[in-house]
Symmetry: C2
Subunit: 267 residues, 2 copies
Amino acid sequence: MCDASGAIGIFDSGVGGLTVFARVAARLPDESIVYLGDTARVPYGTKSADTVIRYARASAAILLEQHVKLIVVACNTASACAVSVLRQELSVPVVGVIEPGARAAVRRSATGCIGVIGTAGTVASGAYPAVIKELAPGARVHCKACPLFVPLAEEGWTQGVVPEAAAEHYLGELVGLGIDTLVLGCTHYPLLTEVIAKTVGLDVTLVDSAEETAVTVQETMAGLGLLVRAQHAPRRQFLVSDAPECFARIGRCFLGQELAEVAWVDF
Amino acid sequence: MCDASGAIGIFDSGVGGLTVFARVAARLPDESIVYLGDTARVPYGTKSADTVIRYARASAAILLEQHVKLIVVACNTASACAVSVLRQELSVPVVGVIEPGARAAVRRSATGCIGVIGTAGTVASGAYPAVIKELAPGARVHCKACPLFVPLAEEGWTQGVVPEAAAEHYLGELVGLGIDTLVLGCTHYPLLTEVIAKTVGLDVTLVDSAEETAVTVQETMAGLGLLVRAQHAPRRQFLVSDAPECFARIGRCFLGQELAEVAWVDF
């Protein structure tokens, strides 16, 4: 069982989930947070669901060793494939990014014609359409896997001919289908917001699930009595499976500040 | 110790090494071959040297369980980072792809001005320039990491605006430096040969180390008395760490034939 004294655990396949970390940390400044990035096995989006479930279980086990009271699955692919498994198996609450992202999309769409972009794994899972249609049975959902967006974002190659042509290649069809809302269903994609917005046009609302996920984390913890009382020095800890210095460098760009403590963990 | 009755072991981070497998199998049709693709942790090229060495050790251990008599490291990144470590630690001979590729480049270059493209890990290792300069001390070697080429090749996105613009971005500078030979220092890159050749021009010779590596394997085995006597049904076995059916499908495209036996292995 868990109590309010533990930390919030967040795991992701790499650095992308730091966008979720940032929103959770901003919304819950008194909570300790342990972030785990599986940088040695990134990306998850091209791997099979079985492998992603295996890695998600391993990540959750590492976080539980750190006495977390709630686990946030910041990676869309892991959320799509593994959240239901983890909820069955773990004794702490598990928050994924799919439900919050779907809820935000349904709220913001006027026409009910919603696009979702994500990794091959996320799209193949069918998780977004399932949740969106549960919330809004009349919605029409069009999904598109954009495999090159992750390496482009990781390279910091977010402007110019190549990302623009890739965006046109992936998104042209969605635009033609008349979507009014587009879910950025991968934590890397917000880095490509500018080129995505330029391609789909200003009439399409882009939804990044990070802020909505932070709201869900807060509500879940409040509902279960897991919110900590004010404390002076909440822990901010980062664990990674590949080189810590590399993560610290990229993480600094993501968060706009130094990452205090980055440690290597083998799992 | 090893004897001629064992199989040849080949490992790679994924499917790319099948180009090496094909050349070794064509040159040594009577030999049994066990191929291991670490598809659950691919790619290696963006990971740290320490992590690549860890994964290379694990792959070698799996192959040794299969009683291999020689190990071929088909992945350029793993060859660059881990071959010397494996040679120290293992009792079987280890053949990488760097030395064969470097030898072929030196042989084919008329001017001694050689370009090398590879993953970030391969380029950072400095392995190609070191070997090329050992073979031809007067050579000038220019290296360039091309991180987007692996995802493009894996997507089968080998023609059109995006790969052409990416090739121009990566290779424009090398062309300006006057190279007459370009080493394709990653097993994925031969899939992009057409667009690479178009970018660097017909005057530049492209070197793919697969054939040269197969020659080195044959020579090494002959020198050590490890060549098998003619046998009727040499084994062709494929082990992968992610979904076998996905590997079998992509592998069929790589090899132009069905892969008889693909099994999942956890490591």
